[in-house]
């Protein structure tokens, strides 16, 4: 069985862009549907896209590109899983939505979030090395949220910048190996996104999702998505944390002979390596 994993948003674009027809085709879709030039990582003239929206489009586009390349070598998935932003390219890979529509959708959602939270300072925090208890405690004490449960020792916090900085300080004092933070435009995967849920629901309602042709496992409850469940999931997943460790354990229990991370970077592969190393200790 072949498993495809679609990763979340990359922190930065890759230093070089591919030079082949699949990349050009995806770039053309980015230009037509989003007003975004994938080759130069810039909005086209007249298109007002924030940096983070560009990065979100980039992440989805590179996943679409890598999926095309895999299919080109004859590799197709028997099961698909996703982490956060990875849901969009996963929907295309499962046949629920066309590639162009997926890019347009992520552009619409990204732009809505960037606009809605303008003027407020949010950040993502990444404490590494602490178990879940002290991380959840630091988040609670400082009014921020655990947005990603990636492994037993890798988490992502989201919330107001001042709260993230204070929570990371607490994590370091509690013995975290490292702690870093990055600005973001919206408090992704937290209940703070609820104020935007009506608008997000309206954006998603503009698309008709087909039934997945390949089983698609979602990252909240590790269930198979159906076409009827997709619209609500796309909004709900922005308000809830990503449970990657649970997802990977479910996937591993299903068994597979080949696993590919389909996107920019190797974050999921590294998380999975950590989770696997704990289960073999």
């Amino acid at each position: 069985m072949t498993l495809w994993l679609f990763p979340g948003q990359p922190l930065t674009p890759e230093p070089a862009v591919p030079d082949d027809d699949d990349f050009y085709a995806i770039n053309e879709l980015c230009r037509e549907r989003c007003g975004f030039d994938l080759s130069h990582h810039l909005p086209l003239s007249g298109h007002n896209l924030s940096n983070h929206t560009c990065l979100q489009i980039y992440g989805v586009a590179m996943s679409l590109y890598r999926a095309r390349r895999l299919r080109g070598t004859g590799i197709t998935p028997d099961l698909i899983a996703e982490h956060s932003l990875g849901i969009y390219a996963a929907l295309a890979a499962a046949g629920c939505l066309e590639e162009g529509a997926v890019l347009e959708l992520v552009c619409g959602i990204g732009s809505a979030m960037a606009t809605a939270f303008t003027g407020r300072q949010y950040a993502l925090g990444c404490p590494i090395g602490l178990p879940v208890g002290p991380v959840e405690s630091a988040a609670r004490n400082n009014g921020v949220f655990v947005a990603n449960y990636n492994t037993s020792r890798h988490f992502l916090l989201a919330g107001e910048t001042s709260g993230i900085e204070a929570a990371l300080g607490e994590c370091l004092a509690a013995g975290a190996f490292s702690a870093s933070h990055f600005p973001c435009e919206a408090p992704l995967h937290t209940p703070l996104l609820a104020e935007l849920s009506t608008e997000l629901t309206a954006i998603v309602a503009g698309y008709r999702f087909r039934e997945p042709l390949v089983p698609l496992l979602e990252h909240i409850n590790q269930t198979r998505l159906t076409s009827a469940a997709i619209p609500a999931f796309l909004v709900d997943e922005l308000l809830q944390p990503v449970w990657w460790e649970k997802s990977w354990k479910v996937l591993r229990a299903k068994g597979f002979s080949r696993c590919s991370e389909v996107g920019s970077g190797q974050a999921l592969t590294k998380f999975n390596r950590w989770i696997d190393s704990e289960s073999t200790d």
């Binding site: 990444c126 590494i128 090395g129 020792r153 890798h154 370091l172 190996f177 490292s178 870093s180 974050a267 590294k270 998380f271 390596r273 950590w274 190393s277």
Partner: protein, 85 residues
Amino acid sequence: MSEELIPHIKQMIIDALRIEGMSADEIDSDAPLFGEGLGLDSIDALQLVVAMEKEFGVVVPDAATGTKVFASVRAMSAYIAEHRK
């Protein structure tokens, strides 16, 4: 003493990080492990910390120490030789 550890450390890196298609001999003892060189990141760093503790009984307490220890394989070997019990 620390020179003798180098082949062992290189194999530990390959095993801990599941680096495929590379032998221990291909890792440059003096190349940076993070950024350029092997291109490791903070997720890899924690994996190496755990592997070092398990393999050599040596603790890297925080990222600041890790930055120095993981500067190269040779730096790792010097740290292990100094802190090994």
